[in-house]
């Protein structure tokens, strides 16, 4: 309140005291409100700058939560693909062993027949792996609506396409491997080669050299894909860690912007209480006496 250079009437004194008390009480109420609501930012005008930060953080947190779901989904896709391809690579190694065995040993037709049928079994098994599903979708089938990437006659029925997930704001990663990329284009794919190999083992071991070379080339391709999938999986995993860390940081930041600093506000509350009581006491003394008390 401004100190007055004016003549002071008793009503002015009373009114000014009342105004001051009201101001004190308003401040006290504001601090109490802050303590009880635990929020220092309740409306934009409390601090427009903090409001931008708070709104941005809140929307980032929502986005972060969604991205965390996207990351889980991406890890699912890539994990399943990774397992399937790893398994495929192992089985291809076994096929190579069988082929070498068939070529070297002057095995009889019965023994070669057994080797050939094992290769055929492995082919079936790899075909099963090629139809691996995640969440009802064939992971090697692209965006086809079918739940299998290859039909029973090992024909590719997928729709090769890039399936992506947003794993950080503005960052996407491909989560699928297309069957034709992995096993070769129709007419020139692993399954055809395995059939040829089995037939060669059984009837025509002389062709095995060429076929084994083909198999090696194919295995290299599959391994390359495995490397890619592994790298992407690692990237997604790293992102997942960062995403969790980000969530924590953002929560912390939002709390800094929006939430009450208890120690500070309790101190302020105490100060306002003292100030209010002092104002009450001063008012009680100031408005009581007048000349009447001293005239006889």
């Amino acid at each position: 309140m401004p100190s007055s250079e004016f003549r002071i009437a008793h009503t002015s004194l009373a009114r000014r005291s009342l105004n001051n008390l009201q101001d004190n009480l308003t401040r006290l109420a504001r601090v109490q409100d802050e303590v009880s609501s635990m929020k220092k930012l309740r409306k934009p005008s409390d601090s427009p700058v903090d409001t931008v930060s708070a709104m941005r953080l809140r929307s980032d947190m929502g986005r972060n939560e969604q991205i965390s779901r996207n990351l889980d989904d991406a890890m699912g896709w890539l994990g399943v693909a990774d397992n399937a391809i790893t398994s495929t690579v192992e089985q291809l190694a076994r096929v190579r062993d069988l082929a070498i065995q068939a070529r070297n040993a002057s095995s009889d037709s019965v023994a070669r027949g057994a080797l050939a049928s094992e290769v055929e079994k492995i082919r079936e098994s790899i075909l099963g792996l090629a139809n691996t599903q995640f969440n009802g979708r064939a992971v090697f089938g692209g965006t086809a609506s079918t739940t299998a990437a290859y039909d029973s006659s090992a024909t590719y029925v997928g729709f090769s396409s890039v399936i992506e997930r947003t794993i950080a704001p503005g960052v996407r990663v491909q989560v699928n491997v297309n069957g034709d990329d992995l096993f070769g284009t129709p007419g020139d794919d692993l399954f055809g080669e395995l059939t040829l190999l089995a037939n060669a083992i059984r009837t025509n071991p002389a062709d095995l050299d060429t076929l084994v070379t083909d198999l090696d080339t194919r295995t290299t391709t599959v391994q390359t894909r495995l490397g890619e999938v592994g790298a992407r999986f690692n990237r997604v995993e790293t992102m997942k860690d960062r995403n969790s860390a980000d969530a924590l940081t953002m929560k912390q930041n939002l709390s800094n912007v929006e939430d009450t600093d208890m120690a500070q506000v309790l101190m302020e509350l105490r100060m306002q209480e003292v100030a209010y009581q002092a104002a009450l006491q001063a008012t009680a003394r100031a408005i009581q006496p007048s000349l009447i008390d001293f005239l006889r």
Binding site: T11, R58, T143, L295
Partner: protein, 564 residues
């Protein structure tokens, strides 16, 4: 000079002091009366007659005292300033209250505001992108889109309602201004009559000034003192009260902006102060301004989502510009929900520089043949060696849909970038509406999750790539989220500034009020001193009268008794 002149001097003093004492009592009695101005007797000493005469001359001295007038302590200049300050404060209080209500309306920052609904909406697109074949995600997205649009509608309706409420409040204020001004004019008349008759008008003037103060709060009048203690009041230079005449105001709500007019000539009264001025600003500027800003956010949301969801477009890569081996490229197209008709574009070699123009011409002709000329415009751009960019834009308010024709690859080849629903149909708008009040999920989509274009025509049956792109609008620097944030911030800044201005204005208003009260308010101490003073003077006058009495007694009884 008469021997009894002294008695008259004593009597004049007794009268005057008694009146002074009575007035001190009047002041004390009204110490707490609102609008009361303290009064004081103005005493003048009465001199001897100054008229020269031929034979006789007045030989005495003073003739005692008389009360010349009863003064009312009131500073006209402070009154004029107080009217200005009160008017400005009332104006700012109105703006502050309106902005405060707007802030409450949007409930930001928090989980319940539109920002939270935006977040949910974008997350819904991500869920659809993660599982384009799932019906649950699509239904959830539609629900969230509906909630978001309803959020906009409700906010807009609340602002409209606030404006209507303020208009009806303003109409009450105008009535109050008219009634108060009429009373001031009547009191002016009474004051003039009493003044002319030589009566004291102090107390009635107090009553009138109280009403003038109320008018200052209501409409921020300018005060100009008139004759015989009357006041004249004006609004922006036009007389509201001129002595005993009053001009009426009326509220004209027939058009926007709402105006207050003078009844006599229907001219707008430039009311820019007081409660009325504040409410006018809220009605004509503040609320429509924020509603327009909110509309801009809604339009941005609609435009951004629709641009990705309803655009019919595609691109022919450089390697595919030669389509001469493809035969007829065909797709289905429908206008405004009508039956689908086949668009047939004969495949040709569009590799050369003129390829874009050639494709545009043949495609336009084919579209015109299918849905009628003038309903949609085909545009193809791309010089030699770059991909051809193809788009079909419905004209005016037309809505077009497209879909593949059987196994023909024309749709995915020419219009591969078109978002298509799970039912294979593309070109549907997601949102419709031109303001925040009528933003809604398009009727083409509402209740039909499969109509959501999560993938593109060239992306395969369960593609989610378009949903992914729409979800990424969440973090777009020029997107609706960011626009909404700056909307809230500008609201916050204006609310904060207005709050501070009003607080400062209140302080300066209180300061003037204090000065006024200093001049006009009753001080008990002072009145006590006055009482003692007048009482003593009264006693002294009585003593003086006794002295004269004794003197006369000496003259009457004690003289002429020589030798008795």
């Amino acid at each position: 000079m008469s021997d009894f002149a002294g008695l008259r001097v004593a009597l004049s003093s007794l009268y005057a002091q008694r009146r002074g004492l009575e007035l001190a009592g009047h002041n004390v009695a009204n110490a707490n009366t609102e609008g009361y101005s303290r009064q004081r007797v103005d005493m003048v000493n009465v001199g001897p007659p100054l008229v020269p005469a031929f034979w006789s001359r007045w030989q005495g001295d003073g003739g005692g005292v008389e009360v010349s007038q009863v003064l009312r302590y009131r500073d006209q200049f402070l009154e004029i300033r107080a009217a200005l300050e009160h008017g400005a404060n009332a104006h700012l209080t109105q703006s502050r209250n309106a902005l405060d209500r707007l802030e409450q309306l949007f409930a930001e920052p928090g989980d319940l505001g539109l920002a939270g609904q935006f977040g949910e909406f974008w997350a819904g697109w991500d869920d659809v992108a993660n599982n384009p074949a799932g019906a649950a995600g699509r239904i959830q997205l539609l629900e969230r889109a509906d909630t978001l649009a309803t959020g906009f509608n409700e906010a807009s309706n609340a602002i409209t309602q606030m404006r209507l409420d303020t208009i009806s409040e303003l109409s009450t204020v105008v009535d109050e201004i008219n009634a108060t001004a009429a009373t001031v004019a009547q009191l002016n008349q009474a004051i003039k009559n009493a003044s002319v008759a030589g009566l004291t008008t102090n107390d009635i003037q107090d009553r009138r000034d109280l009403l003038v103060g109320k008018l200052a709060d209501l409409v921020g009048v300018t005060i100009r003192p008139g004759e015989y203690g009357q006041v004249n009041l004006s609004i922006a230079g036009t007389q509201l009260v001129s002595e005993e005449r009053v001009e009426e105001l009326t509220l004209d709500t027939s058009a926007a902006p709402v105006v207050i007019r003078w009844v006599k000539d229907s001219f707008p009264a430039s009311v820019s102060s007081g409660t009325a001025g504040g409410k006018l600003e809220v009605i004509n500027t503040t609320l429509p301004g924020y509603q327009a800003d909110l509309d801009a956010v809604a339009v941005q949301l609609r435009a951004d989502v629709n641009a990705l969801h309803s655009a019919i477009s595609g691109a022919l890569p450089v390697a595919s510009r030669d389509q001469s081996a493809s035969g007829n490229l065909q797709f289905d197209m429908s206008l405004n929900g009508g039956a689908f008709a086949t668009v047939t574009v004969a495949g040709a070699d569009w590799t050369a520089a003129g390829g874009a123009a050639a494709l545009q011409a043949s495609m336009q002709a084919a579209v015109d043949a299918a849905i009628g000329a003038g309903n949609a415009t085909v545009a193809v751009t791309g010089a030699a060696g770059v991909p051809l960019v193809i788009s079909i834009t419905p004209t005016g308010t037309n809505a077009t849909r497209v879909r593949a024709l059987g196994a023909n690859t024309g749709f995915s080849t020419l219009l591969g970038g078109t978002a298509v629903g799970a039912d294979g149909i593309g070109g549907r708008r997601f949102f419709e509406g031109t303001t925040s009040a009528d933003l809604h999920v398009s009727a083409d989509i509402a209740g039909n999750g499969n109509a959501i274009g999560a993938g593109v025509a060239s992306g395969g049956p369960v593609d989610g790539s378009r949903a992914l792109e729409i979800a990424e609008l969440a973090t777009s620097a020029s997107g609706p989220d960011s626009l909404y944030r700056s909307f809230i911030v500008s609201l916050g800044v204006e609310a904060q500034t207005t709050q501070r201005r009003q607080e400062i204005q209140e302080v300066s208003m209180e300061r003037v009020d204090e000065a006024r009260n200093g001049a006009s308010g009753v001080s008990i101490d002072e009145e006590m001193v006055n009482m003692v003073q007048f009482q003593q003077a009264y006693a002294a006058a009585a003593r003086f009268m006794t002295a004269i009495d004794q003197m006369l007694e000496t003259l009457i009884r004690g003289t002429g008794v020589v030798g008795r």
